[in-house]
Symmetry: D4
Subunit: 167 residues, 8 copies
Amino acid sequence: MNQPKVSIIMGSDSDLPVMQQAADILDQLEVHYELTIVSAHRTPERMFDFARMAHNRGIGVIIAGAGGAAHLPGMVASLSPLPVIGVPVKSSNSIDGWDSVLSILQMPGGVPVATVALNGAKNAGILAAQILGASDPEIRNRILKYKAALEESVLDKVRKLQDKQGR
Amino acid sequence: MNQPKVSIIMGSDSDLPVMQQAADILDQLEVHYELTIVSAHRTPERMFDFARMAHNRGIGVIIAGAGGAAHLPGMVASLSPLPVIGVPVKSSNSIDGWDSVLSILQMPGGVPVATVALNGAKNAGILAAQILGASDPEIRNRILKYKAALEESVLDKVRKLQDKQGR
Amino acid sequence: MNQPKVSIIMGSDSDLPVMQQAADILDQLEVHYELTIVSAHRTPERMFDFARMAHNRGIGVIIAGAGGAAHLPGMVASLSPLPVIGVPVKSSNSIDGWDSVLSILQMPGGVPVATVALNGAKNAGILAAQILGASDPEIRNRILKYKAALEESVLDKVRKLQDKQGR
Amino acid sequence: MNQPKVSIIMGSDSDLPVMQQAADILDQLEVHYELTIVSAHRTPERMFDFARMAHNRGIGVIIAGAGGAAHLPGMVASLSPLPVIGVPVKSSNSIDGWDSVLSILQMPGGVPVATVALNGAKNAGILAAQILGASDPEIRNRILKYKAALEESVLDKVRKLQDKQGR
Amino acid sequence: MNQPKVSIIMGSDSDLPVMQQAADILDQLEVHYELTIVSAHRTPERMFDFARMAHNRGIGVIIAGAGGAAHLPGMVASLSPLPVIGVPVKSSNSIDGWDSVLSILQMPGGVPVATVALNGAKNAGILAAQILGASDPEIRNRILKYKAALEESVLDKVRKLQDKQGR
Amino acid sequence: MNQPKVSIIMGSDSDLPVMQQAADILDQLEVHYELTIVSAHRTPERMFDFARMAHNRGIGVIIAGAGGAAHLPGMVASLSPLPVIGVPVKSSNSIDGWDSVLSILQMPGGVPVATVALNGAKNAGILAAQILGASDPEIRNRILKYKAALEESVLDKVRKLQDKQGR
Amino acid sequence: MNQPKVSIIMGSDSDLPVMQQAADILDQLEVHYELTIVSAHRTPERMFDFARMAHNRGIGVIIAGAGGAAHLPGMVASLSPLPVIGVPVKSSNSIDGWDSVLSILQMPGGVPVATVALNGAKNAGILAAQILGASDPEIRNRILKYKAALEESVLDKVRKLQDKQGR
Amino acid sequence: MNQPKVSIIMGSDSDLPVMQQAADILDQLEVHYELTIVSAHRTPERMFDFARMAHNRGIGVIIAGAGGAAHLPGMVASLSPLPVIGVPVKSSNSIDGWDSVLSILQMPGGVPVATVALNGAKNAGILAAQILGASDPEIRNRILKYKAALEESVLDKVRKLQDKQGR
């Protein structure tokens, strides 16, 4: 089995449909990851142990998703030297996502969280790959190919729209 | 020395001018308290130890103030069985206080924080006294007197305004 | 019949589906409560009498839920020496819940309301138990057990997710 | 002495600089008024008595100003059959005035408050005169003159600006 | 036919389901009204004529509802000496109602609009009756009866809830 | 004297410091303009006449600035076939500019206002020139030169910053 | 085939249902346009080429729609001397449309975008026609007729409502 | 001279006081960087060249700061395979920073920007070091030391506060 480089954690299993998108894009970019539940508020000791140890297990980047008063990304960032990517989740108890965004983004000086868009787990996965790609040319090449494919898929839609108009 | 019943903590010494108001009103209501700095993000282990042990030291209520992505009240509430009062502080790095309010108020089911108004440390002190007063008739009497004095001070202003108009 | 220690009130019967969650968790924590409708705007005299008398009937904590321009929690807090927990309800006439939150949270100095999350009636119930637990070791023990069960249920989900990934 | 037709009340003497503007414009429109402090949260009984009795004293309109979780206008509207004009005050403890606005404006069905702009006490005074003018042709005439003067003062500024450009 | 005392206007027929509630409560309070469409943006001349003439036709109060960049209430208030009640409508093109609320509420000094809650047309109707009741004891009596009925209907729900709990 | 092509209007002379920036950039781009005060709320008839006639006087674009419940740009757009550029002004009575922005931007279908940034009068002037430049190659050339100068001024700052770092 | 005068572009084909409304109204106003997909983030080079060349191809106005962190209108405005109309689209990944609005509206000095309402593509089309109408009397006449038809359709609804009430 | 690993860019020299904090912390963490001005809106071609080439010059992370409709971080992220850290700057033309935050954070799927807090340039520098530390044990050690020093400085303040209380 391959050693995971990215750890995807979330505060609740209700965040899984969103956070699975980080896993899917990492699969596509051939980056090994683990995915589990770590709740800052319901399993604080598990969170402590996880965050303190992750870099010793070979993890290079942590992706943490949470909603409402979302403390998981910031607390993990407080406990780990690794870059932590925060995914604000628009959960059912959130006020239109504003609480999720602000409680992840607005970290005090000294403890950054790399915040992505509301429900932006896919982008969290790409960002994790870009971070690993900073020292791994193979991953960076996959990023370059991914971006080229992205462009191509839009150009394809451009052509389809033109065909439709041409008729 | 008297055993403190209320513990007032804050994320940073820059929160002291706001949080001192909780101490002042507790002095006035003759409730013993302690006051110290506990940072969720900069001293996570100190926070853990503090929150896990507070109820064993005879503390009955915790008042926690923080600003921006304010995780201190919620993390302490996660670790302690005590009622935790959260004071959103409008710190210099806050977006008009919205981040402070939402990251304290919007706790998930199972882990409440009793949130007061932005910079409402005085009310946090009164609330702590009310909580202790639930089983301590002497403190409750002081609350009743405090409310009566509050009313009297407004009535005094009413009279002064009338005198001024009468002239 | 057992003397209720907590009084759960709400501004309208349309708030009942939310506020019932406070009752349910108090049942689970074996705390006696009463539940009724008290409207600040439609039955102001009933509200006055209720708030003035509650502490004389042995009530220790009041939970008040309301939506829109939600004045019930604050007015009851003005009239009673008891700790009042406010539940902002996202009612149909609310602007995404912001009005409910702000008109409960932003109380002036001297009259605190312990505000919980939007629709956070379950947390209001837990907070009420924590407040009573400040002087009642049995209730505090139930809180400690509740928190342990909360942790266990997350760990259970962690195992289920791992099993699913193992397959 | 003349019987006041409008009652201007405010939650705190710190609201006086704003609320005085209602008094000033009523002076200008020659409408008799009274002005005093009535706090919903600090003098609830005084508020009750005031609101229950105002229409029996010959008052025709109530103007109520308050800030933060501003309950005074709504509670008075709940207790009185008179039209109540609410002035959201941007007080020092307010979150940019949003709390003041929403807790006055968003009243439930059955209990309206005629809300004016943040700190809009001058407009509250004019509105009070318009309401009395609905059955008093003299006051309505003063309103018509006031509007004409308003127009004239703008036209005067138009001419001054043109003169300045002409030079 | 009876002379209407209240004129209910709206910017678009899509506002009718909301604005009809003003008509319904005025029916209940036995106040004569008219109801029509006047668009500030699509029929500016009709709006001008309407607003300039309303008080000459015996109208005492205008209720104006609109959504989005809602200019109808404010423009009518600019052109008429009558009290104008503004109803912010949460129309399909509105940003959660904030645009409707702010563009009606935040009128400049000199030109008040009596703003009610988002979609609060029922309260606009009651407020119109209260304004007429300032000089018409019969209408005021109906308001007093309406408030008493409101209270009674809540007390009825209190009893039903108690019965349900008693079972 | 040259016939003005652009008409700059504002709701109040207090908007002049902001709106003057539109005039200044039009001076720089050698586009003739007029500048005056037209208040939707205080001089509605003047506004009507202005808006109805502007295109007959050879005006090609209208720039209208206003703050708070800002109805001037939308009402002028309702009355004139010309493109109307709206400048939301952060006036003293505005709630952080949100009311100004939303009451100008959120126009209903059929009546557009070309809205620029809060206090963005300079951009309103440039946009007016771009609109005239759609059929006037000389003005378009000035726009191209302006953009080139803008670029050059940034490149100049780049060089200064490099020099400073080089020392 | 006729030379298009207006270019309608959008960041994604998911914006088409909104942006098609710009095309429809331009059809109605008999203004020639082209419609295609240009993504600032996924096809940056295509965007560069498009924006640099549009005015050389005879395009007079660009309409650009995008959602979320909507950079397309502003980037095109940076690269083209043409007036650019921005349509904030309330896409699925948007926070209630606020991100779309603010990232299009709040352009820095020197680079205006003529922003219309959220999802206001119809108004973008009308505005484009008004801009072309500044130098094309035929198009201006169609605008005048369109506005007259708009007024007539409201007056028609007025009559229908009156008929309905008459029954 | 040492090859820079981090490139700090900003949209305007007015952003320098904020963005300098990223440079300062990188100095402290002994990470080589370059710092310059690149404007998306005023020097789009310079931005294109910069973003396309940065990874070929040995840059591993880009930090981009901008305010208002802040397009620089997202456009650079669109053009470069490198991880891009976005710093929302609360510039003078910003609406309380909301526009800066939302136009950087809310990037569409496929093009992430690692967003930090409003004016959070210091955290952007730390995050850049953490990203480089993912493959450079020496930098990671400096991060661990930095975090330890952060903790120690808080503990020092704790002691000072205790001494002050002891007196």
